[in-house]
Symmetry: C2
Subunit: 474 residues, 2 copies
């Protein structure tokens, strides 16, 4: 291995190859995952400064048969970007490659390197009076390379799609250390297989994304946020239909939050003053982004909410008067995971089913869990506009958290995932598979799909050196 | 081969296996391509009635080592769906599989079989007061399976994307005759590699799409069409930027048409009364789809056009007063290929470059062609909103068409494609590769991308039995 390290140092410079040999170097930022579920041990953390250097690192590792764990902001949720505990894997960090290579306003595109932090990308677009719509909780530290590798979702998907839908071109280093120059801002290109989408969402197991050309949008003239109390999940789905009709593509956010989830925010962050939650099973947050004006957005919202009131699909609603109020409403929504953490350990899910089946899925699964685990508490919230729920399960009040997890995690996961399968849903809507769900996937995914995935992995990375043990096991 | 035919007849029924053995059977509808550039000879045309039958046909053909040409409406532009002339290939027609399996209004999805004709799909959505936005000239006979296999484009891409962007799930028969059950109306599903997009656009070379789940949209409350005269291509691009800003996602069409293209419509279809074309190098057709009302759409259009007039990015404009007028304006746009055919043979291209580079690309390539072929006439029109031009080349006035084609087709293609490459564009924006461009592709596509495509083809169809000779040669 010393020969490899020497070679890597020659390639990227001594300062950018970090190892445990230097006792002063703390590698835990690269070795520990975001949710602190795994702590690995790397042979080295290598930080190339260019695409050519990435290609060189890959070639050197392939020659030495050393496997590579690509890493962006290391904010993933499924243990997909940290090394295993063998001390034999190289972490390839893209963090130094963060340049904005080009912003083409007339083409509504931006080309950036993989290590660019999402928030910096958003801000660069904003300075050009344009919008990069991807938005998620970790945006201050996650990188666009990681977003692409995991096809990240977030809160604007109902209008703009997942990261995949925002990507027009890629630059990728293959498992053999070749560079695919696939950047470019084309809206249409039917010259062969869709390699771009194959790499997007492959979690670094098929190639290493080093740069991307992404879509930009005109900035909306106004964004308005409403908070509503709905009498049931069925009503929430009906409200979504009305919102699609009334707002068209103006509908940029549609988040549902169960009463217990909001009660936790109220309990642990009472200063946030959660509106309308006490007498209703669910609240829905809606966002309307208008290309015209705030007055127009407000008038549209009013018509929508009036219609919804008339049809009894909502009981009550407030529309934010200004940006500060809107941010506060979003802040409540985003505080649910923190409030949940304050309440104690819990079992998290990131599932999707067709929007139309969400109510039946929740009724059935709620009842099932309550029967199996008396007193269990359901922290149900998420992106209803995309059929994506963070259907989380909290221990019964007063129960010991770690003991609950130990006793019930497997069982709860099976109950929820089995239900998801019955409803033709996904056991990972936006977080990916990583190593956390790699064992579960074959139980829930179509076997022919699994076989196709295995063929593709074997074909593009026959030595299984790129992020092995993630997504699919050979 | 007789054994295979017997087996196929047993699988799908005698009536659905057509061969040349029966002299009364005319197979030319399946053997001749849409643009009449190729006429092949099939061993048989097989028309399975179910996905299981498709799988059975594939297995039988694989066992006999007979290659399969999947076919939908056979309206493709690049000779991708007819057999070669060896008489050894089986045409697998999906035309009997045209059921609408499910329309889920609350989920805004529809699940249909591959043989469903696009127009029937549009009409089914319309009856549910929803919109399936894909729209293209062949919609009366093309099938959704073909649209997916070729990732068809059309006139609404600027808002709704290509067929790929409208697809949420697929059912596919693999090259081994396995069925991948990948249907389902999920907006988010990050459980592994993006198989869906790999099959979409693969032109039947990786698997046979038998059904799909597709996105639906609320029907806009109003659609308005405007016709404008712009002083230059630069101005057209600037107008596009203004339209994005003013109309947001309301902008559903943005078509550019050069003066010579319009002069041909005027010459051959004078009854169509082309507006504003005489004193301007380019006209632009814009469509605004509004979720609110016609009055609102009209007011928005007026503001946009006033701003554009002030900034001198347009000289003149008319807004259609009613649906009939709007249809007439679209009809003029759609008559350009026909007018061109009336004028004589010509060399067609379907190229894209980044929108921002369209003016420079056209200036440079126009000049180049005029220098190389004095008197050449350029029929330039297309979907400027997507950077996609049908940059067609007509013989000099009075020249013999066939002779012109014979002398200049290769040279013109090379000049245009070389220019496209310099501008980081695509030599096939929406039509695909088929067999027509399969030889050209390696000259213009990134070599690493070609190698990756080859690896994938070899991995999923190792015997090269699915639509061989299309997209990529092994």
């Amino acid at each position: 291995m010393n020969a490899l390290l020497t070679q890597l140092r020659a390639l990227v410079g001594d300062a950018h190859v970090l190892t445990h040999d230097d006792p002063a170097t703390d590698l835990s930022a690269w070795e520990q995952d975001w949710r602190k579920r795994a702590h690995g041990r790397a042979l080295a953390v290598v930080r190339p400064g260019s695409t050519d250097e990435v290609a060189g690192v890959v070639k050197a590792c392939v020659a030495a048969r050393v496997s590579i764990v690509p890493q962006g902001g290391n904010t993933g949720m499924v243990v997909g970007s940290v090394p295993d505990d063998t001390g034999t894997q190289v972490v390839l960090s893209l963090s130094r490659m963060k340049a904005v290579r080009e912003l083409d306003a007339a083409n509504l595109t931006i080309t950036v390197e993989a290590g660019c932090v999402l928030q910096e990308l958003q801000e660069t677009a904003e300075r050009a009076e344009l919008l990069f719509p991807l938005s998620l909780a970790a945006e201050g530290s996650c990188t666009i390379g990681g977003n692409l590798a995991t096809n990240a979702g977030g809160t604007q998907v109902v209008r703009y799609g997942n990261t995949r839908d925002l990507c027009l071109g890629l630059e990728v280093v293959t498992a053999q250390g070749q560079i695919w120059h696939g950047l470019g801002g084309l809206r249409k290109d039917n010259t062969g297989y869709d390699l771009r989408n194959l790499f997007v969402g492959s979690e670094g197991t098929l190639g290493i994304i080093t740069a991307a050309t992404l879509k930009l949008y005109p900035r909306p003239a106004a964004r308005l946020t409403a908070w509503t109390a709905v009498p049931s999940l069925d009503a929430a789905v009906e409200l979504l239909g009305l919102a699609h009709q009334h707002l068209g593509a103006g509908l940029t956010g549609f988040e549902v939050m169960g009463q217990f989830a909001l009660s936790l925010v109220n309990k642990h962050f009472s200063q946030l003053r959660v509106p309308l939650w006490r007498d209703t099973p669910y609240c829905v947050l809606l966002e309307n982004s208008d290309s015209e004006s705030e007055a127009h957005a407000r008038a549209q919202f009013e018509r929508l909410l009036e219609t919804a009131l008339e049809r009894e699909v909502l009981n009550d609603a407030v529309v934010a008067e200004n940006l500060a109020q809107a941010q506060q409403l979003w802040h409540i929504r985003e505080s649910i995971p923190l409030a949940q953490a304050e309440e104690g350990l819990n079992i998290k899910h990131d599932i999707s089913v067709p929007v139309s089946r969400i109510p039946a899925f929740c009724h059935e699964t709620d009842a099932l869990l309550q029967r199996e685990i008396p007193g269990v508490r359901l922290v149900n919230f998420g992106h209803l506009g995309d059929g994506n729920l963070h259907y989380n399960v909290q221990a019964p009040e007063g129960t010991d958290g770690p003991l609950f997890l130990k006793s019930y995690e497997e069982k709860v996961n099976s109950l929820v995932f089995d239900a998801v399968k019955r409803y033709h849903g996904s056991i990972s809507a936006e977080h990916g598979i990583g190593s956390l769900k790699v064992g579960k996937l074959p139980l829930y995914k179509d076997p022919v799909a699994m076989a196709l995935m295995r063929q593709i992995k074997l074909s593009l990375d026959p030595l299984n050196l790129l992020n092995p043990g993630r997504v699919i096991e050979p």
